[in-house]
């Protein structure tokens, strides 16, 4: 089988995936700018994602990461591992504790299913206060140099 064209040091071939295989962990330090920049990149102007005073009025101690930004970081984490010759076909995510400025989110993942070409992963994103996100992601190879 040929190797995937991928970022340096990250080459994964789908057929080698086995249930239980672990993805390398990724620590993402999140500052205020990250939370605001990702929210605005998704055209999300909800004040809880950029205005600390409004966030407090609405019952949280600070601004927090939007669900779409979390989803974007999961895309990044999963395809950093798989390489670019993969297509995400499904994601399901559930949020737990918020990501606030100053948090570091540690992403971890595990292969939980292999069905033909399709690989399913369970991804967790955690910070010091607990689990921020629990996600299930399915991806398939796109072909090209992947096969």
């Amino acid at each position: 089988m040929s190797e995937l064209v991928s970022a340096p040091g990250i080459t994964v071939s789908f057929p080698d995936c086995q249930v239980g295989a672990q993805l390398p962990a990724l620590d993402l330090p999140l500052d205020r700018t990250t939370i605001v920049a990702t929210a605005i990149a998704s055209q999300d102007f909800e004040d809880v994602h950029h205005d600390p005073g409004k966030a407090q009025e609405r019952g949280t101690p600070d601004i927090f990461m939007s669900i779409n930004s979390t989803n974007g970081f999961i895309d990044r984490y999963v395809t950093d591992w798989s390489g670019p010759a993969a297509r995400i076909t499904r994601v399901g995510l559930r949020l737990g504790v918020p990501n606030f400025p100053g948090d570091t989110m540690r992403l971890t993942g595990e292969v939980t299913g292999v069905d033909g070409d399709a690989v399913t992963l369970r991804v967790l994103g955690s910070n010091d206060r607990g689990v921020h996100v629990t996600a299930e992601v399915t991806l398939v190879p796109t072909g090209g140099n992947a096969r």
Binding site: V5, A7, T34, A37, T38, I40, A41, S42, Q43, D44, F45, E46, D47, V48, K54, Q56, E57, R58, G59, T60, S66, I67, N68, S69, N71, G72, F73, I74, D75, R76, T79, D80, P84, A85, R87, I88, T89, R90, V91, G92, L93, R94, L95, T142, G143, G144, N145, A146
Partner: protein, 198 residues
């Protein structure tokens, strides 16, 4: 109006909420812009996502694609209403003005009951194909379910589930989504409700 905590008020609200289930939330949302490289680059830079298939035609073709693609999680971005419309929606909400579609009526009802804060809790997306620059997205939103009022860690509120169907310029299905959010009364809020809002 103060948030009714009596059982009759709760029952009345529950009945009104149930009436929204199954309704089209709002008119179809047509993307303001076709999928484009500029907005994709803004997104991938913000997430520091180095996957080349979002920015590099040649690298994208090496993976069997016809060219660069859009990050999957960006799907909802294409049908966001934009800053000016966001401002307008919040002005109307703060003035208690209801627009002529179900979701506006539903949010007004929840605002009146004191459930003014929002937090997203779940999203499920099934991607039927990847998006390329030039694709033009339209989204159809349906109010799929509304929970009874519950006590949560954030405060009292109810969960709404929206079903979102995203189609392309030919009407073909791109993404099917379920989005769950909590509308709640913040615990820190003063007992005299009706404060709120920017």
């Amino acid at each position: 109006m103060t948030a009714g905590s009596s059982t009759e008020a709760q029952a009345g609200l529950a009945e009104q909420l149930t009436g929204f289930v199954g309704m089209e939330a709002e008119p179809p949302r047509v993307a303001r812009y076709a999928v484009n490289e500029a907005m994709v680059r803004n997104w991938v830079e913000a997430h520091d996502d180095r996957n080349p298939v979002y920015v590099d035609q040649a690298r994208a073709r090496e993976t069997g694609r016809q060219g660069i693609v859009c990050p999957p999680a960006m799907i909802s971005t294409w049908v966001m209403a934009g800053y000016r419309r966001w401002r307008e929606v919040h002005r109307l909400r703060s003035e208690g003005i209801v627009e002529d579609f179900a979701y506006s009526r539903l949010l007004n009802l929840l605002d009146q009951a004191g459930y003014t804060s929002v937090v997203a809790t779940n999203v499920e997306q099934e991607y039927h194909r990847e998006l390329h620059p030039g694709d033009h997205v339209t989204a159809h939103f349906t109010i799929e379910s509304i929970s009874p009022v519950k006590r949560t860690a954030l405060g009292e509120g109810c969960f709404l589930t929206l079903h979102k169907k995203y189609v392309d310029q030919a009407g073909d299905l791109l993404v099917e989504e379920r989005f769950r959010l909590l509308r709640f009364k913040p615990k820190a809020a003063e007992p005299a409700a009706g404060e709120d809002k920017a």
